[in-house]
Amino acid sequence: MTDADRDDVEIFEPRIRDDLVEPNGSDEIEMDMEALAEAEAAVAALRDNYLVWVRDDLAAMEAAFGAAVADPEADAEPIASIGAVAHNVKGHGASFGYPLMTEVGASLSAYCRELVHASGAQLAVVKAHIDALKAIIENDLSGDGGETGAELVTLLRDAVASRKG
């Protein structure tokens, strides 16, 4: 870019609300650790709610899977629907203490994005993901899920690698 192409750069300085500044606080930006602890406890208290709505998500995925199997010529929409729900599962799991849900949800979402129409083998990979998500919830595999969780993730990773969309 030459000087002739340069435009004036305008700079605007937004003011923070004066009533929000701690008058005697330090200049360094800090986090309120008490507020943080309270928020983390509040999220933990939402865990039972999460388990209800994630079961609804799993039911929706199973219904879409059934539609994909029932009509292979029109499986693009149900597969996209499974991917969309998996994207939501990915976005929520770890917030509520189920990082495996986030990991498996991410894998399923990415896998579905690559599929337009699925072969039987590819549908089997989708099904394996849905079954894994169900197993995580039914067996309460919170945190890293221990050995079972590790095995689930490895199995899915191998299945995806062998049946790339």
Binding site: V9, R15, V21, E28, M31, A39, S95, T102
Partner: protein, 185 residues
């Protein structure tokens, strides 16, 4: 300095998100921090309707929404002549955390990026940053939004500022009703 619960009580936060569970989670976390006034909208168009009716201090906006998604919403907030407040801090929220997504959000004019799954710690960090350490807004031929070089990332283009930013007093520049002071570099 930190945002205390008393200060959080004074903030109005707009959540723009079509997933009710995410809205519920964000609301619960914000209320735990002390936020009392939370508005919601289900997509960018709905958010504009909310913003025409009330002022907000911070917007938390999801990327994936229809009909008006988060990225287009941020661009319209920054660039549209009808924008209710082009300077409002916007935190972009998404389960897509790839580097190119972060750059897209930044280049659209988002102040901060928050990847899902949400944690209270990262949300608190983003809120504290946008409220207590607001960045300068930059207007060029191609961009309007928060200074994208806050992190001192290497900038590949020419230095177009003729002088560095300076502290503004009440008598400098052109004060405007939206609480900003404007000058030309």
């Amino acid at each position: 300095m930190a945002l205390t619960s008393e200060q959080f009580e004074q903030l109005t936060v707009l959540i723009v998100e079509d997933n009710p569970h995410t809205v519920g989670l964000l609301s619960r976390i914000l209320r735990s921090f002390g936020v009392r006034t939370i508005a919601t909208a289900t997509d960018g168009s709905d958010a504009f309707s909310v913003l025409r009716a009330r002022a907000v201090d911070v917007i938390i906006c999801d990327w994936n929404m229809r009909p008006l998604d988060g990225l287009r919403f941020v661009r319209l907030m920054r660039l549209s002549p009808d924008s209710p407040n082009p300077f409002v801090p916007i935190i972009m929220l998404t389960a897509h955390a790839e580097a190119n997504r972060v750059e897209e959000a930044r280049d659209a004019g988002a102040n901060e990026f928050l990847a899902k799954p949400i944690s209270p710690a990262t949300l608190l960090s983003r809120l504290t940053s946008v409220v207590l350490a607001p960045r300068e807004f930059i207007k060029t031929k191609d961009y309007f939004g928060p200074d994208r070089r806050r992190q001192n990332r290497p900038f590949g283009g020419p230095e177009r500022r003729r002088q560095g930013p300076k502290e503004m007093s009440a008598d400098d520049g052109e004060a405007s009703a939206d609480g900003t002071t404007r000058r030309t570099a």
